[in-house]
Protein backbone atom coordinates (compact mmCIF):
# COMPACT_ATOMS: atom_id res chain seq x y z
CA UNK A 1 0.00 0.00 0.00
CA UNK A 2 1.62 3.21 -1.15
CA UNK A 3 -1.53 5.26 -1.65
CA UNK A 4 -2.22 7.95 0.92
CA UNK A 5 -5.22 7.67 3.16
CA UNK A 6 -7.46 10.56 4.08
CA UNK A 7 -5.38 10.91 7.25
CA UNK A 8 -2.16 11.63 5.38
CA UNK A 9 -3.13 14.14 2.70
CA UNK A 10 -1.13 17.00 4.16
CA UNK A 11 -0.84 19.01 0.92
CA UNK A 12 -3.91 18.11 -1.12
CA UNK A 13 -7.04 15.99 -1.10
CA UNK A 14 -9.56 14.98 1.54
CA UNK A 15 -8.34 15.11 5.12
CA UNK A 16 -10.54 13.43 7.71
CA UNK A 17 -8.94 14.89 10.85
CA UNK A 18 -7.53 18.33 10.09
CA UNK A 19 -6.57 19.15 13.70
CA UNK A 20 -5.07 15.69 14.19
CA UNK A 21 -2.99 16.20 11.05
CA UNK A 22 -1.73 19.45 12.59
CA UNK A 23 -0.53 17.60 15.67
CA UNK A 24 -3.41 17.76 18.15
CA UNK A 25 -3.89 14.42 19.87
CA UNK A 26 -7.10 15.33 21.67
CA UNK A 27 -9.26 18.07 20.24
CA UNK A 28 -12.90 19.13 19.83
CA UNK A 29 -14.68 18.30 16.56
CA UNK A 30 -14.09 20.58 13.58
CA UNK A 31 -16.45 23.54 13.48
CA UNK A 32 -17.37 25.87 10.64
CA UNK A 33 -19.78 28.26 9.00
CA UNK A 34 -22.54 27.41 6.56
CA UNK A 35 -23.56 30.69 4.93
CA UNK A 36 -26.88 30.17 3.16
CA UNK A 37 -27.01 33.21 0.87
CA UNK A 38 -30.59 32.43 -0.22
CA UNK A 39 -31.88 33.86 3.06
CA UNK A 40 -29.40 36.76 3.41
CA UNK A 41 -31.21 40.11 3.59
CA UNK A 42 -28.09 42.28 3.33
CA UNK A 43 -28.47 43.85 6.77
CA UNK A 44 -24.70 43.74 7.45
CA UNK A 45 -25.28 42.86 11.11
CA UNK A 46 -22.50 40.28 10.64
CA UNK A 47 -20.05 42.98 9.51
CA UNK A 48 -20.92 45.18 12.46
CA UNK A 49 -20.86 42.39 15.05
CA UNK A 50 -17.48 41.25 13.76
CA UNK A 51 -16.01 44.74 13.91
CA UNK A 52 -17.38 45.30 17.41
CA UNK A 53 -16.32 42.00 18.91
CA UNK A 54 -12.86 41.96 17.35
CA UNK A 55 -12.22 45.68 17.80
CA UNK A 56 -11.30 46.13 14.15
CA UNK A 57 -10.10 49.57 13.07
CA UNK A 58 -11.74 51.59 10.32
CA UNK A 59 -8.64 52.36 8.31
CA UNK A 60 -8.00 51.30 4.71
CA UNK A 61 -11.03 53.29 3.58
CA UNK A 62 -13.33 50.70 5.04
CA UNK A 63 -16.05 53.14 5.98
CA UNK A 64 -17.26 56.55 4.88
CA UNK A 65 -16.26 55.79 1.34
CA UNK A 66 -19.05 55.31 -1.19
CA UNK A 67 -18.08 52.79 -3.81
CA UNK A 68 -21.12 53.04 -6.05
CA UNK A 69 -21.34 49.24 -6.07
CA UNK A 70 -25.00 48.81 -5.15
CA UNK A 71 -25.30 48.79 -1.33
CA UNK A 72 -21.77 47.49 -0.89
CA UNK A 73 -19.40 50.07 0.59
CA UNK A 74 -17.17 47.51 2.26
CA UNK A 75 -16.11 46.24 -1.18
CA UNK A 76 -13.90 43.34 -0.10
CA UNK A 77 -12.57 41.30 2.78
CA UNK A 78 -9.55 43.15 4.18
CA UNK A 79 -7.33 43.21 7.24
CA UNK A 80 -10.04 45.30 8.89
CA UNK A 81 -13.20 43.70 7.46
CA UNK A 82 -13.52 40.00 8.22
CA UNK A 83 -17.12 39.70 7.00
CA UNK A 84 -18.13 41.32 3.71
CA UNK A 85 -21.68 41.39 2.36
CA UNK A 86 -21.81 41.44 -1.44
CA UNK A 87 -24.79 42.95 -3.26
CA UNK A 88 -25.58 41.91 -6.82
CA UNK A 89 -28.50 43.33 -8.81
CA UNK A 90 -29.48 41.12 -11.71
CA UNK A 91 -31.96 41.73 -14.47
CA UNK A 92 -33.42 38.26 -14.64
CA UNK A 93 -36.23 36.31 -13.00
CA UNK A 94 -35.65 34.52 -9.74
CA UNK A 95 -38.18 31.89 -10.73
CA UNK A 96 -39.92 32.00 -14.12
CA UNK A 97 -43.42 32.20 -12.63
CA UNK A 98 -42.49 35.45 -10.83
CA UNK A 99 -41.39 37.37 -13.90
CA UNK A 100 -43.30 40.50 -14.71
CA UNK A 101 -44.65 39.41 -18.06
CA UNK A 102 -41.90 40.64 -20.38
CA UNK A 103 -39.55 37.97 -19.10
CA UNK A 104 -37.57 40.32 -16.91
CA UNK A 105 -37.40 40.88 -13.21
CA UNK A 106 -34.77 42.25 -10.91
CA UNK A 107 -33.31 39.84 -8.45
CA UNK A 108 -31.02 40.68 -5.60
CA UNK A 109 -28.24 38.43 -4.58
CA UNK A 110 -26.75 39.12 -1.18
CA UNK A 111 -23.96 37.05 0.34
CA UNK A 112 -21.83 37.41 3.44
CA UNK A 113 -18.28 36.37 2.56
CA UNK A 114 -15.69 35.30 5.12
CA UNK A 115 -12.37 33.45 5.43
CA UNK A 116 -12.88 29.87 4.22
CA UNK A 117 -10.68 28.22 6.90
CA UNK A 118 -9.49 25.79 4.22
CA UNK A 119 -8.64 22.16 4.94
CA UNK A 120 -5.45 22.82 2.96
CA UNK A 121 -4.78 26.47 3.79
CA UNK A 122 -2.18 28.04 1.51
CA UNK A 123 -1.69 30.98 3.91
CA UNK A 124 -0.73 28.58 6.66
CA UNK A 125 1.46 26.43 4.40
CA UNK A 126 3.56 29.35 3.15
CA UNK A 127 3.89 31.30 6.43
CA UNK A 128 7.64 31.38 7.17
CA UNK A 129 7.39 32.31 10.84
CA UNK A 130 4.76 29.89 12.09
CA UNK A 131 2.51 32.86 12.91
CA UNK A 132 -0.38 31.18 11.07
CA UNK A 133 -1.52 28.07 12.88
CA UNK A 134 -4.31 25.48 12.85
CA UNK A 135 -6.39 25.60 16.02
CA UNK A 136 -7.83 22.68 17.94
CA UNK A 137 -11.19 23.53 16.31
CA UNK A 138 -9.76 23.01 12.81
CA UNK A 139 -9.78 26.73 12.05
CA UNK A 140 -6.83 28.87 10.88
CA UNK A 141 -5.63 31.91 12.84
CA UNK A 142 -2.75 34.42 12.77
CA UNK A 143 -0.75 34.94 15.98
CA UNK A 144 -0.20 38.72 16.00
CA UNK A 145 2.74 38.44 18.39
CA UNK A 146 4.66 36.30 15.89
CA UNK A 147 3.70 37.68 12.44
CA UNK A 148 6.47 39.79 10.90
CA UNK A 149 4.39 41.07 8.00
CA UNK A 150 6.21 39.31 5.15
CA UNK A 151 2.91 39.26 3.21
CA UNK A 152 3.51 35.85 1.67
CA UNK A 153 0.09 34.68 2.87
CA UNK A 154 -1.53 37.63 1.08
CA UNK A 155 -0.37 36.36 -2.32
CA UNK A 156 -0.92 32.70 -1.48
CA UNK A 157 -4.61 32.87 -0.50
CA UNK A 158 -6.72 31.74 -3.50
CA UNK A 159 -9.71 33.70 -2.17
CA UNK A 160 -7.98 37.05 -1.62
CA UNK A 161 -8.97 37.00 2.05
CA UNK A 162 -5.95 37.59 4.27
CA UNK A 163 -4.44 41.07 4.09
CA UNK A 164 -1.73 43.16 5.69
CA UNK A 165 -2.95 46.08 7.78
CA UNK A 166 -1.56 49.46 6.78
CA UNK A 167 0.25 51.20 9.61
CA UNK A 168 0.32 48.00 11.64
CA UNK A 169 2.39 45.89 9.28
CA UNK A 170 0.95 42.51 10.22
CA UNK A 171 -1.46 40.14 8.48
CA UNK A 172 -5.00 39.85 9.79
CA UNK A 173 -8.10 37.83 9.00
CA UNK A 174 -11.15 36.11 10.48
CA UNK A 175 -10.33 33.92 13.50
CA UNK A 176 -13.82 32.43 13.58
CA UNK A 177 -13.87 34.24 16.94
CA UNK A 178 -11.29 31.91 18.47
CA UNK A 179 -11.71 33.61 21.83
CA UNK A 180 -15.48 33.02 21.79
CA UNK A 181 -15.02 29.39 20.70
CA UNK A 182 -12.65 28.84 23.63
CA UNK A 183 -15.38 30.19 25.89
CA UNK A 184 -18.07 27.96 24.37
CA UNK A 185 -19.76 30.78 22.46
CA UNK A 186 -20.61 30.93 18.74
CA UNK A 187 -18.83 33.52 16.57
CA UNK A 188 -20.19 37.07 16.71
CA UNK A 189 -21.37 37.16 13.06
CA UNK A 190 -23.44 33.98 13.42
CA UNK A 191 -24.85 35.22 16.72
CA UNK A 192 -25.93 38.49 15.15
CA UNK A 193 -27.41 37.12 11.90
CA UNK A 194 -31.18 37.68 12.12
CA UNK A 195 -32.15 35.19 9.38
CA UNK A 196 -29.73 32.38 10.21
CA UNK A 197 -28.08 32.93 6.85
CA UNK A 198 -24.87 32.40 8.82
CA UNK A 199 -25.00 29.11 10.66
CA UNK A 200 -22.25 27.90 12.96
CA UNK A 201 -21.65 24.39 14.22
CA UNK A 202 -19.79 21.11 13.77
CA UNK A 203 -18.79 20.94 10.11
CA UNK A 204 -20.25 17.45 9.55
CA UNK A 205 -23.66 18.58 10.79
CA UNK A 206 -23.56 21.74 8.67
CA UNK A 207 -22.74 19.71 5.53
CA UNK A 208 -25.76 17.46 6.11
CA UNK A 209 -27.95 20.49 6.78
CA UNK A 210 -26.76 22.14 3.58
CA UNK A 211 -27.61 19.10 1.45
CA UNK A 212 -31.17 19.16 2.79
CA UNK A 213 -31.50 22.89 2.12
CA UNK A 214 -30.13 22.46 -1.40
CA UNK A 215 -32.61 19.69 -2.18
CA UNK A 216 -35.46 21.88 -0.89
CA UNK A 217 -34.40 24.79 -3.11
CA UNK A 218 -34.05 22.58 -6.18
CA UNK A 219 -37.50 21.12 -5.48
CA UNK A 220 -38.87 24.67 -5.27
CA UNK A 221 -37.51 25.42 -8.76
CA UNK A 222 -34.40 27.39 -7.75
CA UNK A 223 -32.19 25.41 -10.11
CA UNK A 224 -29.25 27.80 -9.87
CA UNK A 225 -28.66 26.90 -6.23
CA UNK A 226 -25.35 25.19 -5.57
CA UNK A 227 -23.02 24.57 -2.67
CA UNK A 228 -19.58 26.18 -2.74
CA UNK A 229 -16.64 24.91 -0.71
CA UNK A 230 -18.44 22.01 0.99
CA UNK A 231 -16.80 19.22 -1.07
CA UNK A 232 -13.77 17.55 0.63
CA UNK A 233 -12.66 16.44 -2.85
CA UNK A 234 -12.28 20.00 -4.17
CA UNK A 235 -9.01 21.89 -4.70
CA UNK A 236 -8.68 22.98 -1.07
CA UNK A 237 -9.86 19.76 0.57
CA UNK A 238 -13.14 21.45 1.42
CA UNK A 239 -13.66 24.71 3.28
CA UNK A 240 -14.38 25.12 6.97
CA UNK A 241 -16.67 27.97 5.92
CA UNK A 242 -18.81 27.03 2.92
CA UNK A 243 -21.73 28.62 1.13
CA UNK A 244 -24.99 28.07 -0.68
CA UNK A 245 -24.94 30.30 -3.75
CA UNK A 246 -27.63 31.09 -6.32
CA UNK A 247 -25.28 31.87 -9.23
CA UNK A 248 -21.76 31.19 -10.45
CA UNK A 249 -19.11 31.84 -7.75
CA UNK A 250 -17.35 34.56 -9.78
CA UNK A 251 -20.57 36.60 -9.77
CA UNK A 252 -20.03 36.94 -6.01
CA UNK A 253 -16.30 37.67 -6.45
CA UNK A 254 -15.32 34.12 -5.51
CA UNK A 255 -12.84 32.01 -7.52
CA UNK A 256 -14.79 29.33 -9.43
CA UNK A 257 -12.58 26.32 -8.67
CA UNK A 258 -9.59 27.27 -6.50
CA UNK A 259 -6.72 24.84 -5.94
CA UNK A 260 -4.28 25.23 -3.04
CA UNK A 261 -0.97 26.33 -4.56
CA UNK A 262 1.09 23.91 -2.45
CA UNK A 263 -0.45 21.01 -4.39
CA UNK A 264 2.26 21.65 -7.00
CA UNK A 265 5.02 22.46 -4.51
CA UNK A 266 7.02 19.19 -4.85
CA UNK A 267 7.07 19.75 -8.62
CA UNK A 268 8.17 23.38 -8.14
CA UNK A 269 11.09 22.38 -5.91
CA UNK A 270 12.17 19.86 -8.56
CA UNK A 271 12.21 22.58 -11.24
CA UNK A 272 14.18 24.89 -8.97
CA UNK A 273 16.64 22.05 -8.40
CA UNK A 274 16.98 21.63 -12.16
CA UNK A 275 17.56 25.37 -12.55
CA UNK A 276 20.22 25.27 -9.82
CA UNK A 277 21.84 22.46 -11.79
CA UNK A 278 21.79 24.55 -14.96
CA UNK A 279 23.41 27.42 -13.07
CA UNK A 280 26.14 25.16 -11.66
CA UNK A 281 26.76 23.60 -15.08
CA UNK A 282 26.92 27.05 -16.67
CA UNK A 283 29.59 28.22 -14.23
CA UNK A 284 31.63 25.04 -14.71
CA UNK A 285 31.35 25.43 -18.49
CA UNK A 286 32.53 29.04 -18.26
CA UNK A 287 35.70 27.85 -16.51
CA UNK A 288 36.38 25.00 -18.92
CA UNK A 289 38.72 25.31 -21.88
CA UNK A 290 42.16 26.84 -21.87
CA UNK A 291 42.86 30.28 -20.44
CA UNK A 292 43.48 33.01 -22.95
Amino acid sequence: MTGKTADQNSLFGPLADVSGNAGYTEHPQRVGFFTDTSVCIGCKACEVACKEWNGLPDSDGDVLELTGLSYDNTAALTANSWRHVAFIEQDKPLIDAQSDGDGHATRWLMASDVCKHCTHAACLDVCPTGALVRTEFGTVIVQPDVCNGCAYCVSACPFGVIDRREGDGRAWKCTMCYDRLRGGLEPACAKACPTDSIQFGPLDELRALAQTRLADLHAAGETGARLYGEDPDDGIGGAGAFFLLLDEPEVYGLPPDPVVTTKDLPDMWRWAGAAAGVLAAGVVMAFSGRRK
Binding site: C127, S155, R164, Q211, A276
Partner: protein, 310 residues
Protein backbone atom coordinates in the same frame (compact mmCIF):
# COMPACT_ATOMS: atom_id res chain seq x y z
CA UNK B 1 -18.23 34.17 -47.82
CA UNK B 2 -15.91 34.90 -44.96
CA UNK B 3 -15.09 32.21 -42.52
CA UNK B 4 -14.82 32.96 -38.83
CA UNK B 5 -11.31 31.82 -38.04
CA UNK B 6 -11.05 32.97 -34.47
CA UNK B 7 -12.90 31.78 -31.44
CA UNK B 8 -14.71 34.85 -30.09
CA UNK B 9 -13.03 36.24 -26.98
CA UNK B 10 -14.41 34.66 -23.85
CA UNK B 11 -16.63 36.75 -21.60
CA UNK B 12 -15.90 36.46 -17.92
CA UNK B 13 -18.31 37.28 -15.15
CA UNK B 14 -17.06 39.07 -12.07
CA UNK B 15 -18.15 41.08 -9.05
CA UNK B 16 -18.08 44.61 -10.53
CA UNK B 17 -14.73 43.79 -12.13
CA UNK B 18 -13.10 43.80 -8.71
CA UNK B 19 -10.07 41.59 -8.06
CA UNK B 20 -10.68 38.10 -6.69
CA UNK B 21 -7.15 37.95 -5.31
CA UNK B 22 -5.22 40.46 -3.26
CA UNK B 23 -2.50 42.17 -5.28
CA UNK B 24 0.96 41.33 -3.90
CA UNK B 25 2.18 43.72 -1.21
CA UNK B 26 5.76 43.34 -2.43
CA UNK B 27 7.09 46.52 -3.95
CA UNK B 28 9.73 48.25 -6.04
CA UNK B 29 12.60 48.63 -5.62
CA UNK B 30 12.84 46.17 -2.72
CA UNK B 31 11.67 42.88 -4.23
CA UNK B 32 13.40 43.22 -7.64
CA UNK B 33 16.56 44.42 -5.86
CA UNK B 34 16.49 41.43 -3.51
CA UNK B 35 15.95 39.00 -6.38
CA UNK B 36 18.77 40.53 -8.40
CA UNK B 37 21.29 40.78 -5.57
CA UNK B 38 20.45 37.30 -4.29
CA UNK B 39 20.96 35.61 -7.63
CA UNK B 40 24.14 37.63 -8.23
CA UNK B 41 25.55 36.63 -4.85
CA UNK B 42 24.64 33.02 -5.52
CA UNK B 43 26.42 32.77 -8.85
CA UNK B 44 29.42 34.82 -7.64
CA UNK B 45 29.97 32.41 -4.76
CA UNK B 46 30.34 29.59 -7.24
CA UNK B 47 32.54 31.72 -9.49
CA UNK B 48 34.72 32.53 -6.47
CA UNK B 49 35.14 28.86 -5.62
CA UNK B 50 35.91 27.88 -9.23
CA UNK B 51 38.34 30.77 -9.69
CA UNK B 52 40.04 29.89 -6.42
CA UNK B 53 40.36 26.25 -7.49
CA UNK B 54 41.75 27.13 -10.93
CA UNK B 55 44.21 29.75 -9.69
CA UNK B 56 42.50 32.84 -11.07
CA UNK B 57 43.45 35.00 -8.08
CA UNK B 58 42.05 38.35 -9.21
CA UNK B 59 38.70 36.87 -10.25
CA UNK B 60 38.46 34.85 -7.02
CA UNK B 61 39.04 37.94 -4.92
CA UNK B 62 36.52 40.04 -6.84
CA UNK B 63 33.86 37.30 -6.78
CA UNK B 64 34.21 36.53 -3.09
CA UNK B 65 34.04 40.14 -1.96
CA UNK B 66 31.13 40.96 -4.28
CA UNK B 67 29.26 37.78 -3.30
CA UNK B 68 29.35 38.62 0.40
CA UNK B 69 28.45 42.26 -0.22
CA UNK B 70 25.48 41.43 -2.46
CA UNK B 71 24.19 38.79 -0.02
CA UNK B 72 24.03 41.39 2.75
CA UNK B 73 22.61 44.10 0.51
CA UNK B 74 19.98 41.64 -0.72
CA UNK B 75 19.10 40.71 2.84
CA UNK B 76 18.59 44.38 3.64
CA UNK B 77 16.12 44.76 0.77
CA UNK B 78 14.33 41.58 1.87
CA UNK B 79 13.99 42.97 5.39
CA UNK B 80 12.61 46.19 3.96
CA UNK B 81 9.68 44.18 2.54
CA UNK B 82 8.51 43.20 6.01
CA UNK B 83 5.66 45.00 7.71
CA UNK B 84 7.61 44.49 10.96
CA UNK B 85 11.30 44.55 9.95
CA UNK B 86 12.42 44.32 13.59
CA UNK B 87 10.93 40.81 13.62
CA UNK B 88 13.12 39.55 10.77
CA UNK B 89 14.61 36.92 13.10
CA UNK B 90 11.17 35.30 13.37
CA UNK B 91 11.97 33.88 9.92
CA UNK B 92 14.38 31.53 11.69
CA UNK B 93 11.81 30.51 14.31
CA UNK B 94 10.73 27.46 12.29
CA UNK B 95 11.95 25.50 9.26
CA UNK B 96 9.08 24.67 6.89
CA UNK B 97 9.57 22.93 3.53
CA UNK B 98 6.05 24.06 2.52
CA UNK B 99 7.19 27.68 2.85
CA UNK B 100 9.77 28.65 0.22
CA UNK B 101 10.31 31.85 2.21
CA UNK B 102 11.25 29.80 5.28
CA UNK B 103 13.62 27.65 3.23
CA UNK B 104 14.99 30.76 1.53
CA UNK B 105 15.64 32.50 4.84
CA UNK B 106 17.71 29.56 6.03
CA UNK B 107 19.57 29.40 2.71
CA UNK B 108 20.24 33.15 2.85
CA UNK B 109 21.42 32.94 6.45
CA UNK B 110 23.81 30.09 5.67
CA UNK B 111 24.99 31.70 2.45
CA UNK B 112 25.65 35.07 4.08
CA UNK B 113 27.71 33.44 6.79
CA UNK B 114 29.76 31.34 4.39
CA UNK B 115 30.43 34.14 1.91
CA UNK B 116 31.39 36.49 4.77
CA UNK B 117 33.93 33.97 6.01
CA UNK B 118 35.33 33.48 2.50
CA UNK B 119 35.51 37.25 1.97
CA UNK B 120 37.14 37.82 5.36
CA UNK B 121 39.71 35.20 4.49
CA UNK B 122 40.33 36.96 1.18
CA UNK B 123 40.82 40.36 2.82
CA UNK B 124 42.88 39.34 5.83
CA UNK B 125 44.86 36.55 4.18
CA UNK B 126 44.38 34.48 7.32
CA UNK B 127 41.67 31.86 7.92
CA UNK B 128 43.24 29.89 5.06
CA UNK B 129 41.59 26.48 5.40
CA UNK B 130 38.37 27.72 7.01
CA UNK B 131 38.02 30.43 4.36
CA UNK B 132 38.61 27.95 1.58
CA UNK B 133 36.07 25.51 2.97
CA UNK B 134 33.51 28.26 3.49
CA UNK B 135 34.08 29.41 -0.08
CA UNK B 136 33.60 25.87 -1.36
CA UNK B 137 30.44 25.39 0.71
CA UNK B 138 29.01 28.66 -0.59
CA UNK B 139 29.22 27.11 -4.05
CA UNK B 140 26.44 24.79 -2.83
CA UNK B 141 24.27 27.44 -1.14
CA UNK B 142 24.77 29.86 -4.03
CA UNK B 143 22.80 28.06 -6.77
CA UNK B 144 20.03 27.35 -4.23
CA UNK B 145 19.86 31.00 -3.19
CA UNK B 146 19.69 32.06 -6.84
CA UNK B 147 16.86 29.75 -7.88
CA UNK B 148 14.62 29.27 -4.82
CA UNK B 149 12.83 32.61 -5.42
CA UNK B 150 11.28 30.98 -8.49
CA UNK B 151 9.45 28.65 -6.10
CA UNK B 152 8.71 31.55 -3.75
CA UNK B 153 6.78 33.39 -6.46
CA UNK B 154 5.25 30.32 -8.12
CA UNK B 155 3.89 28.99 -4.83
CA UNK B 156 1.14 31.60 -4.75
CA UNK B 157 -2.39 31.94 -6.09
CA UNK B 158 -1.20 34.50 -8.67
CA UNK B 159 -1.96 32.91 -12.09
CA UNK B 160 1.03 34.44 -13.95
CA UNK B 161 3.45 33.26 -11.26
CA UNK B 162 1.93 29.89 -10.50
CA UNK B 163 1.72 28.89 -14.16
CA UNK B 164 5.38 29.85 -14.68
CA UNK B 165 6.84 27.53 -12.05
CA UNK B 166 9.14 25.99 -14.65
CA UNK B 167 10.40 29.24 -16.19
CA UNK B 168 10.85 31.41 -13.10
CA UNK B 169 13.70 29.42 -11.49
CA UNK B 170 15.34 29.17 -14.91
CA UNK B 171 15.00 32.93 -15.44
CA UNK B 172 16.74 33.47 -12.11
CA UNK B 173 19.44 30.90 -12.93
CA UNK B 174 20.13 32.74 -16.20
CA UNK B 175 19.96 36.08 -14.41
CA UNK B 176 22.43 34.84 -11.81
CA UNK B 177 24.92 34.04 -14.57
CA UNK B 178 24.52 37.37 -16.36
CA UNK B 179 24.69 39.31 -13.08
CA UNK B 180 27.85 37.49 -11.97
CA UNK B 181 29.28 37.75 -15.48
CA UNK B 182 28.54 41.47 -15.50
CA UNK B 183 30.27 41.93 -12.14
CA UNK B 184 33.33 40.15 -13.54
CA UNK B 185 33.27 42.18 -16.75
CA UNK B 186 33.03 45.41 -14.77
CA UNK B 187 36.00 44.37 -12.63
CA UNK B 188 37.97 43.42 -15.74
CA UNK B 189 37.73 47.00 -16.98
CA UNK B 190 39.99 48.19 -14.15
CA UNK B 191 42.00 45.02 -13.60
CA UNK B 192 45.59 44.48 -14.78
CA UNK B 193 44.91 40.78 -14.80
CA UNK B 194 42.37 40.69 -17.62
CA UNK B 195 42.95 37.09 -18.68
CA UNK B 196 41.58 36.03 -15.30
CA UNK B 197 38.22 37.41 -16.24
CA UNK B 198 37.60 35.50 -19.44
CA UNK B 199 35.51 33.01 -17.47
CA UNK B 200 33.20 35.85 -16.44
CA UNK B 201 32.80 36.82 -20.07
CA UNK B 202 31.85 33.27 -21.04
CA UNK B 203 29.47 33.05 -18.08
CA UNK B 204 27.75 36.23 -19.23
CA UNK B 205 27.22 34.73 -22.69
CA UNK B 206 25.77 31.46 -21.33
CA UNK B 207 23.58 33.39 -18.89
CA UNK B 208 22.27 35.74 -21.57
CA UNK B 209 21.12 32.70 -23.54
CA UNK B 210 19.40 31.01 -20.59
CA UNK B 211 17.80 34.24 -19.35
CA UNK B 212 16.46 35.13 -22.81
CA UNK B 213 15.02 31.66 -23.38
CA UNK B 214 13.31 31.64 -19.98
CA UNK B 215 11.89 35.10 -20.69
CA UNK B 216 10.55 33.84 -24.01
CA UNK B 217 8.90 30.96 -22.15
CA UNK B 218 7.20 33.40 -19.77
CA UNK B 219 5.87 35.42 -22.68
CA UNK B 220 4.65 32.58 -24.86
CA UNK B 221 4.30 29.42 -22.80
CA UNK B 222 1.08 29.86 -20.87
CA UNK B 223 -1.76 31.19 -22.99
CA UNK B 224 -3.81 33.78 -21.13
CA UNK B 225 -1.57 33.49 -18.06
CA UNK B 226 1.29 34.78 -20.25
CA UNK B 227 -0.62 37.94 -21.21
CA UNK B 228 0.70 40.03 -18.26
CA UNK B 229 4.23 39.29 -19.54
CA UNK B 230 3.33 40.57 -23.02
CA UNK B 231 1.23 43.63 -22.31
CA UNK B 232 1.12 46.52 -19.85
CA UNK B 233 3.90 47.46 -17.45
CA UNK B 234 5.14 43.88 -17.13
CA UNK B 235 5.30 43.40 -20.90
CA UNK B 236 7.22 46.64 -21.46
CA UNK B 237 9.76 45.76 -18.79
CA UNK B 238 10.25 42.24 -20.10
CA UNK B 239 10.80 43.60 -23.62
CA UNK B 240 13.36 46.05 -22.26
CA UNK B 241 15.01 43.20 -20.37
CA UNK B 242 15.25 41.14 -23.56
CA UNK B 243 16.91 43.92 -25.60
CA UNK B 244 19.36 44.76 -22.82
CA UNK B 245 20.29 41.14 -22.17
CA UNK B 246 20.78 40.24 -25.83
CA UNK B 247 22.64 43.52 -26.43
CA UNK B 248 24.81 42.87 -23.39
CA UNK B 249 25.56 39.40 -24.71
CA UNK B 250 26.63 40.78 -28.09
CA UNK B 251 28.83 43.38 -26.41
CA UNK B 252 30.41 40.61 -24.33
CA UNK B 253 31.63 38.98 -27.54
CA UNK B 254 33.91 41.99 -28.08
CA UNK B 255 34.83 42.38 -24.42
CA UNK B 256 38.05 40.38 -24.55
CA UNK B 257 39.81 43.04 -26.61
CA UNK B 258 37.87 46.15 -25.70
CA UNK B 259 37.53 47.59 -22.21
CA UNK B 260 34.74 49.78 -23.51
CA UNK B 261 32.81 46.77 -24.76
CA UNK B 262 33.31 45.09 -21.37
CA UNK B 263 31.91 48.13 -19.56
CA UNK B 264 28.97 48.43 -21.96
CA UNK B 265 28.22 44.73 -21.67
CA UNK B 266 28.32 44.84 -17.87
CA UNK B 267 25.93 47.79 -17.78
CA UNK B 268 23.49 46.28 -20.27
CA UNK B 269 23.44 42.84 -18.63
CA UNK B 270 22.88 44.40 -15.20
CA UNK B 271 20.07 46.53 -16.59
CA UNK B 272 18.52 43.53 -18.31
CA UNK B 273 18.59 41.48 -15.15
CA UNK B 274 17.00 44.24 -13.09
CA UNK B 275 14.32 44.88 -15.72
CA UNK B 276 13.44 41.18 -15.81
CA UNK B 277 12.87 41.15 -12.06
CA UNK B 278 10.71 44.28 -12.24
CA UNK B 279 8.77 42.69 -15.13
CA UNK B 280 8.01 39.58 -13.08
CA UNK B 281 6.72 41.66 -10.15
CA UNK B 282 4.57 43.89 -12.35
CA UNK B 283 3.17 40.96 -14.35
CA UNK B 284 2.21 39.20 -11.11
CA UNK B 285 0.42 42.29 -9.84
CA UNK B 286 -1.47 42.70 -13.13
CA UNK B 287 -2.39 39.02 -13.08
CA UNK B 288 -3.84 39.25 -9.57
CA UNK B 289 -5.64 42.53 -10.19
CA UNK B 290 -7.79 41.33 -13.12
CA UNK B 291 -10.34 38.66 -12.14
CA UNK B 292 -10.43 37.31 -15.69
CA UNK B 293 -7.06 35.60 -15.21
CA UNK B 294 -8.28 33.84 -12.08
CA UNK B 295 -11.57 32.73 -13.62
CA UNK B 296 -9.97 31.61 -16.89
CA UNK B 297 -7.29 29.57 -15.16
CA UNK B 298 -9.98 27.75 -13.17
CA UNK B 299 -12.36 27.14 -16.06
CA UNK B 300 -10.22 25.31 -18.62
CA UNK B 301 -13.08 25.06 -21.12
CA UNK B 302 -13.95 28.72 -20.66
CA UNK B 303 -17.52 27.86 -19.78
CA UNK B 304 -19.28 28.73 -16.54
CA UNK B 305 -20.56 25.67 -14.74
CA UNK B 306 -17.77 23.39 -15.92
CA UNK B 307 -17.42 22.39 -12.29
CA UNK B 308 -20.25 20.01 -11.52
CA UNK B 309 -23.00 21.49 -9.41
CA UNK B 310 -23.61 19.78 -6.12
Amino acid sequence: MSEQLQVPPAEFQSYYGRPILKVAKWKEPDLPAYLFLGEMSGALAMVGAMAHATGRRSLARTARLASAASAFAGGAFLTAELGRPERFANMLRVAKPTSPMSMGSWILAAHSGLTSLAAASEVTGSLGIAGGMAGAASAITGPLLATYPGVLLANTAVPAWHAAHRELPMLFAGGAMTAAGAAGLAASVVSRDRADFDAARKLALIGAGVESLAGYGLEHGHGLDSEPYQTGDGGKMLAAARYLTIGGGIAALAARRSRTAAAVSAAMLTGGGVCAKIAVLRAGKASAADPKYVVASQRPDGQPGSRSLA
